[in-house]
Amino acid sequence: MKTPFNVRNVVAAMVVAGLLLLPLYTSLSGNVFALTLFTRIVIFALAASSLNLIMGYGGMMSFGHAAYLGIGGYAVGILAAEGIGSGFIQWPVALATSALFALVIGALSLRTRGVYFIMITLAFAQMAYYVASGLARYGGDDGLTIYKRSDFAGLINLSNRVQFYYLCVFCLLGGLYLIWRVVNSRFGMVVQGLRSNEARMQAIGFPATRYRLVCFVIAGTVCGLAGALLANNTDFISPAVMYWTRSGDLMVMVILGGMGTMFGPVIGAIVYLVLEEFLSQVTEYWALIMGPLLLLIVLFGRGGIVGLLERGRHG
């Protein structure tokens, strides 16, 4: 059944259309809050999608992915604090720093497997967290306020809500396109092959670690972009962005939506953050409901929401 109208594609098209049309709805209804919420959601969807590239397709369970959010954010924040406001400098620096960090920790972490890999990526993220806490010049524990958003020389105004939202959506779609191209390239096939059977791939002659490392760096760089967006969105960056529970949130989004599916993490981010917002309006103790809900999803909903949708379709 190679029709373009399978469940996955229809859902993906609906999500994209919904995200693109959202500002229309908010300007008609005057509900500005929805736009603020969805700007955040789109940014986290980008971060979760990048995690999905290594976790879902590459089989690398990184528990320190939030580190790149912080690194991208701090690159923007520190440059802004030092008086360099141009986005043409800030953003490339954010991407380059994230890529460099991913290269270093990837080269060390990829020597380990399984749970050890989960833990060593966590350790590196915690180190980044403590480094940021120690940056007394840039706010230390309290974080760093960014007084002026990245300046793109009049090309786009980041302080305009709608323009910034569309920039985020553009970055998300661009990131997804990149991931899609990577996954379906020869390179992506090798990485997925390594996930299914490393010994066989090595026997054919593929250098496992090198392929994985490149994939790891791509994911880190994309997440660094999400970090730069996040810092601009909140006008603030603090070590808390890199704390291990943040990495946990990202993992939850990926698994909730459907690991190893292109739009799963996007749906996961939407559901997770909307649910969090909705429940916290109903009750102060929203996690009391969210926690067991996650447990139930793991127990009964394998394959995440995308998996659930597909199973519902086929009976």
Binding site: Y116, G248, M251, I255
Partner: protein, 305 residues
């Protein structure tokens, strides 16, 4: 000299406490192959139970025994209701499910005990300083922690190495399928091990409670330390967990105590006082990263085949 002895003992005490937490974690990890992020929540619950029961009964020892029992029970219920359905699943499922449990426990505690922390005050006989060497005094309570933790470690060693249950536990750690095939009730063994781990975590939490405040999220930082320990020590190895716990406790405590002074010798004092806390917090993760890079299976891997 005084400071060195004192910090050394502090490091030992912290390390032993970490061992109690890590022992349960490494058993559950090694035997059930289960990643339990909610282990830190059990640690927190132990502390909250202790604070409640001690205030309720007015007797420190009785309150602590009740709290231990309550944590044990909580662990068994948790295993029975939810976690046993997750054995054999992917590690990621474990992470997600127990991450949900952390969220749940934190808010449950906030609902029951309120957002402010609790204090667990010590009885008078535990607050006196004891002369350990002529002229060197050390708080009796911290000595008591060292003694209790050492006793528990010894008991754990004897149970695991010298009894039939311990033999099954070790067998489970090295080959799960095989001991199931040999007719051992593996379900019961799992529940037992999980309960034991929960009780150990609770014990660590309630012993730490009088030193720090009892508060929400207290289990999360220390959970990560416990994971670092079992990864350094080698998953499933009690001996590895013990040595790694002492090692990590020492590094952390001594690093925090002496690093600022050491740094001041090479850096300006302002730079040193900002860099030192961050550096000493990082130290453990640095050690773990180095260990994993050099020996990707930890220092004492349990199941050598």
């Amino acid at each position: 000299m005084l400071l060195v002895v004192e910090q050394f003992l502090n490091g030992l005490q912290f390390g032993l406490l970490l061992f109690l937490l890590a022992a349960g974690l490494t058993l559950v990890f090694g035997i059930m192959d289960f990643v339990n992020l909610a282990h830190g929540s059990l640690y927190m619950m132990g502390a909250y139970f202790a604070a409640t029961f001690v205030a309720w009964t007015g007797n420190f020892l009785l309150g602590i025994v009740l709290a231990l029992g309550a944590t044990l029970l909580l662990g068994i219920v948790l295993e029975f209701v939810a976690l046993r359905h997750l054995y054999g699943r992917d590690h990621l499922d474990h992470v997600l499910a127990t991450f949900g449990l952390i969220l749940f426990f934190n808010d449950a505690v906030r609902l029951i005990w309120g957002p402010a922390g609790l204090a667990l005050s010590l009885p008078a006989w535990l607050t006196v300083p004891v002369a350990i060497l002529p002229g060197i005094y050390y708080p009796a309570y911290r000595l008591a922690i060292i003694a209790v933790a050492l006793a528990v470690a010894l008991m754990l060693y004897l149970v695991v190495m010298r009894t039939r249950i311990g033999m099954l536990i070790r067998a489970g750690a090295s080959n799960r399928e095989m001991i199931g095939a040999l007719g051992i009730n593996i379900q019961l063994l799992y529940t037992l091990v999980f309960g034991l781990g929960a009780a150990l975590a609770g014990l660590a939490g309630l012993m730490q409670a009088p030193i720090l405040t009892v508060q929400i999220g207290m289990g999360e930082n220390i959970l990560i330390l416990a994971f670092v320990i079992i990864v350094i020590g080698g998953i499933g190895s009690i001996r590895g967990a013990f040595l790694a716990a002492i090692f990590v406790g020492m590094i952390d405590t001594l690093g925090r105590a002496f690093l600022p002074d050491l740094l001041r010798k090479v850096l300006s004092s302002a730079a040193a006082s900002t860099a030192a806390p961050a550096l000493s917090s990082m130290l453990i993760y640095l050690v773990m990263a180095i260990v994993l890079v050099v020996r990707p299976e930890g220092l004492f891997p349990a199941n050598k085949r």
